[in-house]
């Protein structure tokens, strides 16, 4: 029997921000008992994944080894950590552990996909620990931009690992437990083998600010506003939603929540006891009757999402409310890279309406939920692990974080998705590369990111589409002329004749001259027709469209 070992394998979230999924294992080689930490999604974009609904980590390796899997542990309720639980649970079939608020959200995910909600089990925070095979796992509260985030304390015979989850060091987080350095020191005092650590803000040079710092600024802003105030933030940032609501209340305004996620999150936080007080809210119908200078709306859509409340207000009206000249719209949020166009679009729409937009460029109305560079250093010092394994970041973040750890003499390594590490020794050691990738939820079907399906859609978007149909009789003679349809192409080309006519004319001429051998050979005929259609388009309109050729034979 081979030596027992402690392994770590990121399947998602290392080499990108999103779709977190981290495997830990303990046991003899290839027979390690496994646990999974987080099971999240990433979001599509037009550049690389048009029409895709959600992006998951490819968990094939884990599904193939499900007999070795003990449990799933969810650190917190953000979509990139819990979003795939409902979609993937059936392939894993093990209990899912989370703290109360996160478990509430995870159960919704299960229910949405027809999976058994009872497989989500609520656990208490540290010092309670859950056994899962050779592991004991505890949920150590951390502050983040959603309630009840937890770092995981993962004990195995090979020692203690701390998986930070997404975190910041906030001693006055407003909602949830403050960062408690003494507790962390205590948890770490007998030695920590490895700290697996959030890398998101490793490039932010200054220590992070507390959630408590934004309240007074927002209150001053809202108090000075002469007309209606609308504010947006991530609905799951319940502390911020509360900060905004209380600032509005102190400024003498009625608070109205708009957007499904905003109401649902406040409700979930109240139900689970995370939120013990919240200003009284009015319904949109009541809001419409309140003088605008006494009203503050809290709305979804901080990233400019097209269907969210913010975008609908920017388009004119939402829930019977229309913004007017002199109203104020506050982004109490940061634009996630890649979302700039959508956010700028609604800012300009508000500008056209005469609405004054305030964003986070001054740094006063938003603070990040992730630990900045000095905070990471501080956590390294408190935990004092034998090794630091950066996760939750693009390659540049992981690399910078590994360097940072190295600067204080700690062993570290950049381990992207698919890199299996042995954490048992003095330093992390790569022991295997596992095939990983992305799975797309496309409509109701899961497809591989490299299947070529989305690539074909991108090609149609760039090049347009031509369909050519030809009918041949029993003697392989063309019956009538070639017929074309185009989509996404101009109607007129260089010849100033309809593009369709020019293509059809060229195809028909070819058919007239084509030899019997060509006409009898489907492949040859198809290739020739495609080539001609594409070349004619290139000459006429300067584009070579995607082309489908349909040959029908009356046999």
């Amino acid at each position: 029997m081979s030596r027992e070992r402690l392994i770590y394998l990121p399947l998602g979230g290392s080499g990108e921000i999103g779709m977190n999924a981290y495997v830990y294992g303990y046991g003899p080689e290839d027979r390690e008992r496994l646990i999974l930490v987080d099971l999240g999604v990433a979001f599509s974009d037009m550049d690389t994944s048009p029409g895709v609904d959600l992006i998951f980590a490819d968990i094939s390796w884990l599904a193939e080894n499900k007999d070795r899997l003990e449990a799933v542990f969810i650190t917190h309720g953000h979509e990139d950590h819990v979003g795939a639980v409902g979609h993937y649970w059936e392939r894993l079939g093990v209990p899912v552990y989370a703290r109360t608020f996160t478990a509430n959200l995870a159960r919704h995910k299960m229910a949405d996909r027809g999976q058994p909600e009872e497989m989500v089990r609520t656990v208490s925070a540290w010092p309670e620990m859950t056994e899962a095979g050779p592991f004991k796992v505890g949920f150590l509260p951390v502050s983040h931009s959603i309630p009840e985030s937890a770092a995981l304390v993962i004990d195995s015979p090979a020692g203690r690992v701390i998986h930070s989850g997404d975190f910041k060091l906030d001693e006055t987080p407003l909602v949830g437990e403050p960062f408690d350095p003494e507790l962390w020191t205590d948890v770490s005092k007998d030695g920590v083998q490895a700290l697996i650590c959030d890398s998101t803000n490793v490039f932010s040079p200054h220590a992070g600010r507390s959630e408590a710092s934004v309240g007074p600024e927002i209150e001053a802003l809202v108090s000075g506003a002469p007309n209606m105030v609308v504010a947006t933030t991530f609905a799951s940032n319940v502390a911020r939603v509360k900060t905004l609501a209380e600032a509005g209340e102190r400024a003498g305004r009625s608070i109205c929540l708009m957007g499904r996620a905003m109401r649902r999150m406040v409700e979930a936080a109240t139900t689970t006891g995370v939120l013990t007080s919240f200003p009284k809210v009015v319904s949109p119908e009541e809001a419409a009757m309140i003088p605008r200078e006494n009203l503050m709306l809290l709305v979804t859509g901080s990233q400019g999402e097209r269907r969210a409340a913010s975008a609908q207000l920017a388009n004119g009206k939402y829930n019977g409310i229309t913004l007017k000249e002199g109203d104020m719209f506050l982004f109490s949020s940061k634009t996630i890279p890649g979302n700039e166009r959508g956010v700028i679009r609604i800012i300009n729409q508000f500008s056209e309406m005469g609405v004054d937009v305030v964003d986070d460029s001054t740094g006063k109305y938003h603070v990040s939920g992730h630990a900045n560079r000095p905070d990471l250093q501080r956590l390294h010092e408190i935990v004092n692990p034998a090794m630091v394994i950066p996760n939750h970041g693009e390659h540049r973040h992981l690399r910078e974080h590994a360097k940072l750890a190295g600067e204080s003499g700690r062993a570290s390594i950049v381990a992207v998705n698919g890199t299996m590490l042995d954490l048992s020794g003095k330093a992390p050691r790569v022991v295997q590369h596992v095939e990983t990738g992305r799975t797309y939820l496309d409509g109701s079907v899961q497809i591989g990111a490299l299947d070529g399906i989305v690539r074909d859609r991108i090609r149609m978007a760039l090049n347009g589409k031509v369909v050519v149909t030809v009918i041949l009789d029993e003697d392989d003679e063309p019956l009538g002329e070639a017929w074309c349809e185009t989509m996404g192409l101009p109607e007129l080309g260089r010849s100033d004749a309809p593009l369709l006519d020019v293509i059809e004319e060229d195809l028909t001429q070819f058919l007239r001259r084509a030899g019997a051998k060509t006409l009898a050979n489907d492949d040859k005929l198809e290739n020739e027709l495609r080539r001609i259609a594409r070349n004619t388009c290139r000459e006429e309109i300067g584009k070579k469209p995607e082309t489908t050729v349909i040959i029908s034979r009356l046999r």
Copy 2:
């Protein structure tokens, strides 16, 4: 005869950043003699304009009134100011005036499109003025991120207008004329009716820094680098290219220019006398022989463009050179909003290669080419115009700039594309709304942004495509079965049978049951077949694809 008036009409560049085109006119209503300032392009993106090559302002109004047009004046050589000259010249047919360097670039644009280069006429800077109908136009040097930028002094019987063009207030710009407050005071001393003014950086609260401030920082960075250094900036930012090259030279490195635009711009600047000195450069072949610690590459691709030198180096190799662990890549540039994804992609690729990436986040290695808020205020004060008309900005920029002007008691207005202003009075007055929009260069064809062509391509990218063909005989009876092709759709759906088979089966069943009336009616049959194909797809794969139905009748 009606009163003569001075009009201003932005056709592009007001309400967006890009495709600048501003009309001025003087004369009786609807008989004003016209000039055009700038004729630029904007760039496409996957979200809104996939496959589009370039975006132009719709100049229909101007083309319809070309008999009243006297001339085009180009303020500077950036694509968003000069890029459409070659494409549109034929529709306008008037002389194009520009300073030497800009004229050099404009002639290339004309030649590229087979237009007469000699219609581009080189003018000297202020105090020389060019007559164009009722106007006299002078080119007042300003600093910007390209050589020989000019503000235009536009005199008409209704007084003097200053059109700032893109500018910053730089008293040590390294290349080109420093900002000369005395000259500007002198030009403005007899009264300026209107200042039409760049709004790009109105939200930047601190006074802009000089180009001279980045040289020492870059030199310190390059001197400290142990291995190869690669730097990117916009090739047209000749001053920056020179700053980078000189920093490299002082650090004892050979300089190599990579990317066509980089070499072409340095050449154009040297030919036109704009660049009087530049370090000796080595060819890529020579560079490959030089020890990497003695080498500095200046490359194209500061915005992560896929085909530029930076992206190709990130992919592995360019011109025989490969980056290695410990090399440094410097972005001496800012990422334009919307380009984040591309830039981040290459940063991560470099990170994977072990290349250290330095960006402008510290503010040390890049300065903007546009006037910041205090600089705008300073220019307002120096010029002291009766009115300030913000241009070159999205709506939010124009609105903020108009507010800023209002704060010091100047008349102002937000005039987006298509808003014709009368500038003759004490304050700007809207006199007409002209239809404007965007024209896409799509392959070799110009199409309207609202023609639906690009919308169809976006739909195919989001929804995929199905083609249905059915053949009917002389009696309107289906001949054989329905035939489908799909593109951009998964092969298997919910039934676990091939999607094509399921659709074809449903269509064939419909055809068997369809009545003679339906089979004889093309429209009805097409609609039914489309509906069935889409519904089957929705059930099988959760998507309703774009569908083309082709009905062939053997008559």
